[in-house]
């Protein structure tokens, strides 16, 4: 008994944390991430990977529902921390870590799993959590297309997929997936509803959860810090943990009051920006995707946009770019493979703010 408790305490000494930030909680998230870095607690990639679920700020109804789904997918031992104010981060995380070690009751069983119908529900904001199982095999199923076969129907509560015309003329099955609202490297609340054939997105639609209650204006953030934050997220999606770590440290250094640390942060930002800008491997793997027409004012391809952030991150002046509308981004993602779609979206500066009327945002 004592032994198992000790094993538990030892195993969970550095829990993996899944952060869910609400719109407008960006500086708050930075503070929490800095604290996590100090503790050496790593970020979880999926609910299955999570020990500690940390929700920052009060989520809207849609996000709250999504967080509930997500929570139901986290295996025991688990603990959920709801942080409301930035001033008690350290204590709250301490408390969360301690609560994790305490033996708790039963974990998520079959009972509290939301029904598939509920998850895939047509209710617009139901928020099918992005890393959740959306039905993989069934998606690959041939629902119809064969004479004399039973069309459609349900399997294990999930609808059968139907075939559709595809790029390679193979009539692959169409699988409807919902990516988001909580995915590594993407802004929380961003939801991509897409149809997949193989791993190619054939149709895509982007939206924000709780679109009605989003803040009216962007937060007034330090541009360097904001650019570094975008860089962090992009590098996470691109699978470059060392560079993402350096960019995150640089970003957190700028928050410090101590001038020495700010100088160090500036140096670190310059180093990581140089590394990212000059990386041939990144140019090779992330170049040539998400290309936009020059007149759209969206800044070339994904790589160009990332390099632009690198310049902002070191404090160089750059030309203003128009904030893209979600529809423009969704159009770029169509026809892309799942991985490049993730990179393309991560390459844009998407902020959860109320949509500006299109007449003003189009063509800067």
């Amino acid at each position: 008994m004592d032994l198992s408790a000790r094993l538990r305490g030892w195993a969970l000494a550095r829990p993996r944390v899944l952060l869910v930030d609400t719109p407008g909680a960006t500086p708050f998230r930075w503070a929490v991430e800095a604290d996590l870095d100090r503790r050496g607690w790593s970020h979880a990639r999926s609910p299955a990977d999570t020990d500690l679920l940390v929700v920052l700020g009060p989520p809207g109804p849609g996000l709250a529902a999504a967080v509930e789904v997500l929570w139901s997918q986290v295996p025991e031992p688990r603990h959920r921390v709801d942080l409301r104010r930035p001033d008690d981060i350290g204590a709250a995380l301490d408390e969360g870590g301690a609560a994790l070690i305490r033996p708790a009751g039963s974990g998520p069983g079959a009972d509290d799993r939301p029904s598939p119908a509920e998850l895939l529900g047509t209710d617009g904001d139901a928020g099918h959590e992005g890393m959740d199982h959306g039905g993989g095999h069934e998606g690959m199923d041939h629902g119809g297309g064969h004479e004399g076969m039973d069309h459609g129907g349900e399997v294990a509560g999930l609808p059968m997929a139907m075939t559709g015309p595809d790029r390679d003329g193979l009539e692959l099955d169409v699988l409807t997936v919902v990516l988001g609202p909580v995915l590594p490297g993407w802004p929380t609340g961003l939801v991509l509803r897409a149809e997949l054939q193989g791993d190619v997105l054939t149709s895509a639609e982007l939206c924000w959860l709780d679109a009605a209650s989003l803040p009216a204006a962007e937060l007034d953030l330090d541009p360097q810090q904001a650019a570094l934050d975008r860089l962090v997220r992009f590098l996470v999606v691109a699978g470059w943990p060392t560079a993402a770590r350096d960019a995150r440290r640089a970003r957190d250094g700028f928050s410090a009051g101590d001038p020495d640390r700010r100088v160090a942060a500036q140096r670190r930002a310059a180093a990581v920006a140089r590394r990212v800008r000059r990386s041939r491997a990144l140019a090779w793997t992330a170049g040539g995707i998400g290309c936009t027409a020059p007149e759209s004012g969206l800044g070339g391809d994904t790589l160009d946009r990332v390099r632009r952030w690198c310049e902002i991150a070191v404090g160089q002046p750059v030309a203003e770019l128009a904030g893209p509308s979600l529809d423009e981004v969704a159009a770029l993602v169509q026809g892309a493979e799942l991985g490049s779609a993730r990179l393309i979206v991560a390459g844009f500066d998407l902020q959860p703010v109320t949509v500006v009327p299109p007449s003003e945002s189009a063509h800067a």
Binding site: G145, H146, E147, L170, E171
Partner: protein, 105 residues
Amino acid sequence: MTAELVLQVVLTVAAGLIGVGLFGALSQQTIVMVMMGLELVLNGVLLAGGAAWYFLAPDLPDAQMLVVVALVVMAVEMAMGFAVTIAFYRARQIDMIDMASDLRG
């Protein structure tokens, strides 16, 4: 146990594989499943070839060559089978041999 008895047991297993494979190849409707039946038949050939080498003629490489040829036949059968399946499927969205019977000249 004498060598002959072991040989007979192993060959019986090979015969079992061939029998099951034949049943599958003849009864299945989808091309991929037919291929699996054929693979099973060839699996029996592999086993019989190996047993023949060990018990009958280990001094000669011929039985080993037979196994190599059986492996190559499997690879060719797989590759061509899938290529044909893709071509069929691309042309008319079918993967069942009954539906391809109109190819009969």
